[in-house]
Amino acid sequence: MQEATFHALADLALNQTGQYIAPAKAYLVATRLSALVRREGFASCDELVACLQARPNPVFEAEIVAALQTRQTWFFRDRDVLARLVGEIIPQKLKGSKSGRLKILCTGVSTGQEAYSLAILLGEHSQVLRGARIDITATDICKQSLNIARAGTYGHFEIQNGLSIHRLLDHFTQLETGQWQASEELRRGIGFRSHNLLDETAPLGHFDVILCRHVLSGMGRAQRQKAAHRLTDKLAHGGLVFLGEGETLTGATDRLEPSHRHRGAWIYVPEGQRQVA
């Protein structure tokens, strides 16, 4: 891949989704675009970019940036966070809620395993959460990933990664193809939506809990700051943001700070209380 081609594709990803791709990861770009290149009949990424520059096509550009995204995910990733969320934090929040309703947002959900893991855990805690209405909205920028997530259908390797055999039997049905599909109840409980975290115009509403895990760390500095601000726009009063293990917002925004009450969570800092950098 020519250097100019890499930079054109890396800039496209950075501008549209905030994803930062280091030059050392040029091989990843070629790998992730190989199926698109083949499908469109190009000989290489160089040809694809040359065509795009001659005839700009926003729909195809969106498909390219979606293909460049990291899709790696598995069931019950960072399981301690999910367990704490469902076992401690959600019951506490419900106690302080008049409506008995909570809204949870999973951003960058890719093929949906995190949202299904959360829905499974909520079901397992149904006795404690009796009477509560908990809405899960799950978003991603990649429509292809969202189609897999909506279908809730996973292959041999995906279904076994992180999911116990007992949960598999309880919540999934084996299809004739050999794939496993999430129960209708699980699928109905999650609203999957296409959404770009950097998009200021698309409203999603306000959420009591936002899971934004392993998303911001892959972004450029300015884009990470912008995305962090978009997250605060989506937080309900007293809402919490959870990042992935090892991720931080320190230095990216003064609008969120680590919660003293809930380990691993970030909370909104009102304007007058923000620390001046």
Partner: protein, 121 residues
């Protein structure tokens, strides 16, 4: 160091699984069928058993029922590893005393995740 008994009549599967669990700091013991595995369990109960279904001499299910009747045989975590992956076979394995089930083929992530499920890593 925890011990993992790998019971499979395929040398390739024993080698692949052995390498994965060695990297997870398990000491590996191998058996080619249920009868040999039972003898090794009578000698020393392992912490976990990765168990194939279809094997000569004594199959995985017969071994599982037998080992659970042995003194101390309730202790090892048993992870079935089989190409018999329909719901009925999986349910039968669990009813017979298996703790987890891996559908073959598997990779290191899957095996690691299943060992985590049974609390061994």
């Amino acid at each position: 160091m925890k011990t993992c008994l790998i019971v499979d009549d395929s040398r390739v599967v024993r080698k692949v699984a052995g390498r994965i669990v060695s990297n997870l700091d398990f000491q590996v013991v191998e058996a080619v069928d249920g009868a040999e595995a039972l003898a090794k369990c009578r000698d020393a109960m392992p912490d976990v058993i990765l168990l194939d279904w279809n094997m000569p001499v004594m199959n995985g299910l017969d071994f599982l029922r037998a080992v659970r009747r042995e003194k101390g045989g309730g202790a090892p975590k048993v992870v079935f590893c089989s190409t018999e992956t329909d719901r009925d076979h999986i349910t039968e394995a669990l009813r017979s005393g298996a703790d987890e089930f891996v559908m073959k083929p598997f990779d290191s992530e899957i095996l690691q995740s299943k060992l985590a499920e049974v609390g061994l890593i």
